[in-house]
C-alpha cells in the first residue's frame, strides 16, 4: 500500500548545453499531493516531462509504479497528464469532449453533467473549445483530466488562466482526489495550491 508511486534518483537533464536538472531525488507515496515549486526556468516542467518519459534523462533513474515510464496505453491509463493545452478535436463541443472522455473510460470518476457543473462550464457546454476564453479552456482541460479515472495526476501549472475563486476551488478538488487514494504531482506558482501540498524544489530539496 505504501510502496512509493514515484522514485527518482540522481536525475540530471541537459537541454542543449544547459544543465536544467542536477541530481534530483524525489519519492512520492500514494495519496500524497506534491507541489514542485521554484522560479521560472528552474526545471519544474522538465521534471514532470521526465516522470512521463516524454523527456529523456541525461542520467539518473526514474521509476513510476516500480518500473521505468513507458509511453503505452497501460501507463496512460494510470497517469493523467495536464500540460500544454491540447489540440481540440475539430467539430466537437466542450460537452462532447467530456462525453468522449467518459465513453472511452469504462468507469469515469464523475458524470459529464457533474463535471460541467463543478468546472462552471454548463452555460458554455455547446461551444467549441476554441471559442472559450483562456480560463474556460483551462477549466475544460482540468474537467477532462479529473473526469477520467487515474491513480496519478501530473499537472503543469494547473492555475494557468484561472481566476482567484476557482484556484481555491481547485485546491479542494485536488484534496478530494488525493483523499480517494489518488496521488498528485504539480508544478505550480500558486501559493494557495502549494500550501495544500508537500513542496519540493526541482533540485529535490524539500522546501
Amino acid at each position: 500500500m505504501y510502496e512509493p508511486i514515484i522514485e527518482v534518483a540522481g536525475l540530471a537533464v541537459d537541454l542543449g548545453a544547459n544543465p536544467v536538472l542536477r541530481d534530483v531525488r524525489l519519492t512520492v507515496s500514494p495519496g500524497e499531493i506534491v507541489a514542485v515549486v521554484g522560479p521560472n526556468g528552474c526545471g519544474k516542467s522538465t521534471l514532470l516531462r521526465c516522470l512521463t518519459g516524454l523527456q529523456p534523462a541525461t542520467s539518473g533513474e526514474i521509476r513510476m509504479f516500480g518500473e521505468p515510464p513507458a509511453d503505452n496505453a497501460r501507463f496512460w491509463s494510470r497517469v493523467a497528464l495536464l500540460g500544454d493545452e491540447p489540440a481540440w478535436y475539430p467539430g466537437l463541443t466542450a460537452r462532447e469532449h467530456l462525453e468522449l472522455m467518459g465513453a472511452v473510460h469504462a468507469t469515469p470518476r464523475m458524470t459529464v453533467d457533474a463535471a460541467l457543473d463543478v468546472f462552471a462550464l454548463t452555460e458554455r457546454a455547446d461551444a467549441v473549445p476554441l471559442n472559450l476564453s483562456t480560463g474556460q479552456r483551462q477549466r475544460l482541460c482540468l474537467a477532462a483530466t479529473l473526469l477520467r479515472p487515474s491513480t496519478l495526476l501530473l499537472l503543469d501549472e494547473p492555475e494557468r488562466g484561472l481566476d482567484a475563486a476557482f484556484r481555491s476551488r481547485l485546491a479542494g478538488l485536488l484534496g478530494d482526489y488525493a483523499a480517494g487514494g489518488g496521488t498528485v504531482v504539480m508544478a505550480t506558482h500558486d501559493e494557495g495550491l502549494a500550501a495544500h501540498a508537500r513542496q519540493v524544489f526541482p533540485s529535490g530539496v524539500t522546501a
Binding site: 496505453a73 491509463s77 489540440a87 478535436y89 475539430p90 463541443t93 462532447e96 462525453e99 469504462a106 476554441l130
Partner: protein, 515 residues
C-alpha cells in the same frame, strides 16, 4: 543610412516608399546586378527548355475539335475557373505578410499604396493562370484555321477571365454587394459545367468552335475591355478594404506561409478547419455507448456528419471521372484518377488520427492503445473510399451507356462485377489515408539532389509521397485491371481483396507497435 525614426509622412504615396526602403535596408541584402542577371539567365533557360514542348503542343491543337469531347472539355475548363475563383476568395485574395499587417496596415499610411505590391502580385498570378486557361479553351474548341490568331484570342480570353475574376474577388473583399456577384459567377460556372456535361450545349459549342476569326476577335476584345474595367474598379477599391478582413486574411496567410516553409504543410488543414468550427453553432449530442476504440473513432463520423456540404461536394466530385472519360483520358490514367479520388475521399475521414499525431495530449488522456484505436479509425475512411469509388464507377457506367466505358476501364472481361474493385481497394486506400494523416512534418535536413532538371529537395518529396506510396502498393492489382487478359478478372478481384486487407492489417500492426 540609419533612420532612428519612422518617416513622419501619412496618407501619401511618398509615405509608403520610404517605409518599404527602410524595411528593405534592415532586411535582406539589396538585389544586386548579379542577382538580376542570374534570374534572367534562369528564365531564358526555362524558356529554351519548355519552348519546344509547348510549341509542339500548340501545333497539335490545329484543326477542328472532336465534337464528342467538347462538352466534357468545356465542363473541365469551367470547373478550373471555378476552382480559381474559390481559391482566390478563400485566400483573401488581398493579403499582406503578417508583420506588414501588424505594423503598416494599422497606421495612417495610405492603404491603397500599402496594398499596391500585393495587387501587382495578384495580377501576375491571374495572368499566369489565365494563359493556362486560354490554352485549355483552345484545346477544347480547336482551331480550324489561323492557329496563331485563334491562340492569341484564346489566351486573351483566358487572361481576361482570370484577371476579371481576381478583380471581382478583390472587390468582394471591399464590399458585400460585389461578394454577391462573385458568388453568382461561381454558381454560374458550376451550372455551365453541369449543362455542358449533359450535352445540352452541343449546338452552341459547335457554333463557338466554328466561329469566324472576326467574331472570336470581337469577343476577346470585349472580354479584355470588361476585365480592364473590373481591374480598374478593384485598384480603386484597394484603399476601401476594411482592416478587419485584411488582418484576418493576412494572419491566415502568416500561418499558411509559416506552415508551408518552416513547419509542416499538414498544418495548413488545421487553419481552415479551426476557422470553420469557430464560426459554427453546434448542439452537443450524447456519445453512443460502444467499446473504447470505437468511441474514440466516433469523433470522425460526427465531424463528417456536421459538414453535409462537404459530403455533398465529395459525392458531386464522383462525377469527375465520367467527365475525364468523355474528355478522352486513357483507361489506365482513368483508373488511377478513380483510385486517387477514393484516396482523397478517405482522407476526409482521418481527422482524429491526424490531430492525435500532431498533438498527442488528448490521446494520452484517453489512454486507448494505438492498434485498436487505429483499427477503429480505419472504418470510416474505408466506407468513404469504397462508396466514392462505387459512385464514380457508376457515373462512368451511366455516362458511357450500359457500363461499356466502365467495363473497358476494368478490362475486357470485367462483365458486371467491375465495380467490386472499388470496395476491395478501400482497405488499402484507408491505410494510405491513415499513413498520410500520421506522417511526420517535412524533414528539411534531408539532402537536396542535384539533377539535370534542377535541384530536388528530398525532404518535401518524401513527405509528399508518404501515404500515397502505401495506397499505391495496396492498389496495384486494381491498377493493373485494364491490362489483364480476358478471363483473368476474377484473379484480379481476388488479388485486390487480399492486397487491400494485408496492407491495412500490416499498417495497423506496424504503426501501432508502441501502443
Amino acid at each position: 543610412m540609419t533612420r532612428p525614426h519612422m518617416p513622419p509622412t501619412s496618407g501619401s504615396a511618398a509615405g509608403v516608399r520610404p517605409v518599404r526602403a527602410y524595411l528593405r535596408s534592415r532586411g535582406h541584402a539589396p538585389v544586386s546586378l548579379t542577382d538580376r542577371y542570374v534570374t534572367m539567365v534562369q528564365l531564358a533557360v526555362l524558356a529554351a527548355v519548355a519552348g519546344q514542348p509547348v510549341a509542339t503542343m500548340i501545333g497539335d491543337l490545329a484543326g477542328p475539335a472532336d465534337p464528342a469531347r467538347t462538352g466534357a472539355g468545356v465542363a473541365l475548363v469551367a470547373l478550373a475557373m471555378t476552382a480559381f475563383l474559390v481559391a482566390a476568395r478563400a485566400a483573401g485574395p488581398v493579403l499582406l505578410p503578417a508583420p506588414d499587417a501588424a505594423w503598416l496596415l494599422l497606421s495612417p499610411l495610405n492603404r491603397g499604396h500599402v496594398l499596391g505590391r500585393t495587387a501587382r502580385a495578384l495580377l501576375v498570378v491571374a495572368v499566369v493562370a489565365g494563359l493556362v486557361l486560354g490554352l485549355g479553351v483552345l484545346a477544347v474548341l480547336g482551331a480550324p484555321d489561323q492557329l496563331m490568331w485563334r491562340l492569341l484570342a484564346a489566351l486573351a480570353l483566358g487572361v481576361s477571365a482570370t484577371v476579371g475574376g481576381m478583380a471581382l474577388a478583390v472587390l468582394g473583399q471591399a464590399s458585400q454587394s460585389w461578394q454577391v456577384w462573385l458568388t453568382v459567377a461561381i454558381a454560374g460556372l458550376v451550372v455551365l459545367a453541369v449543362v455542358a456535361m449533359s450535352g445540352h450545349l452541343r449546338s452552341a459549342m459547335a457554333v463557338a468552335a466554328a466561329a469566324p476569326l472576326s467574331v472570336v476577335a470581337t469577343v476577346a476584345a470585349g472580354g479584355v475591355v470588361l476585365s480592364a474595367l473590373l481591374a480598374r474598379q478593384a485598384w480603386a477599391a484597394l484603399g476601401r478594404i476594411p482592416a478587419r478582413t485584411l488582418v484576418s486574411a493576412s494572419t491566415r496567410a502568416g500561418h499558411v506561409s509559416n506552415a508551408a516553409t518552416t513547419l509542416d504543410p499538414g498544418a495548413l488543414t488545421w487553419i481552415a478547419e479551426d476557422n470553420h468550427w469557430r464560426a459554427r453553432k453546434l448542439a452537443s449530442r450524447r456519445w453512443p455507448s460502444m467499446p473504447a476504440p470505437f468511441a474514440l473513432a466516433w469523433h470522425d463520423w460526427l465531424r463528417l456528419a456536421r459538414r453535409p456540404r462537404r459530403l455533398a461536394a465529395m459525392a458531386a466530385a464522383a462525377a469527375l471521372p465520367a467527365v475525364l472519360a468523355q474528355a478522352g483520358l486513357a483507361p489506365t490514367a482513368l483508373w488511377a484518377a478513380v483510385l486517387a479520388g477514393g484516396l482523397a475521399a478517405a482522407c476526409t475521414g482521418v481527422s482524429g488520427a491526424r490531430r492525435d499525431n500532431d498533438n498527442p495530449v488528448m490521446a494520452r488522456l484517453m489512454g486507448v492503445a494505438r492498434r485498436p484505436a487505429l483499427a477503429a479509425r480505419a472504418v470510416l475512411p474505408m466506407v468513404l473510399s469504397g462508396s466514392w469509388t462505387i459512385l464514380a464507377l457508376a457515373g462512368l457506367a451511366l455516362a458511357g451507356g450500359s457500363g461499356t466505358q466502365a467495363a473497358a476501364l476494368a478490362g475486357p472481361a470485367a462483365g458486371g462485377v467491375w465495380w467490386l474493385l472499388g470496395p476491395l481497394a478501400a482497405p488499402a486506400l484507408a491505410a494510405g489515408a491513415l499513413r498520410m494523416a500520421r506522417r511526420s512534418p517535412v524533414d528539411h535536413s534531408m539532402p537536396v539532389l542535384d539533377t539535370p532538371g534542377g535541384a530536388i529537395p528530398t525532404g518535401p518529396l518524401i513527405w509528399a509521397v508518404t501515404g500515397a506510396d502505401l495506397a499505391l502498393a495496396g492498389c496495384l492489382p486494381a491498377l493493373s485491371a485494364p491490362l489483364v487478359p480476358p478471363g483473368a478478372f476474377g484473379a484480379v478481384l481476388a488479388a485486390q481483396g487480399v492486397a487491400g486487407v494485408l496492407v491495412l492489417l500490416g499498417y495497423v500492426l506496424r504503426a501501432g507497435r508502441a501502443g
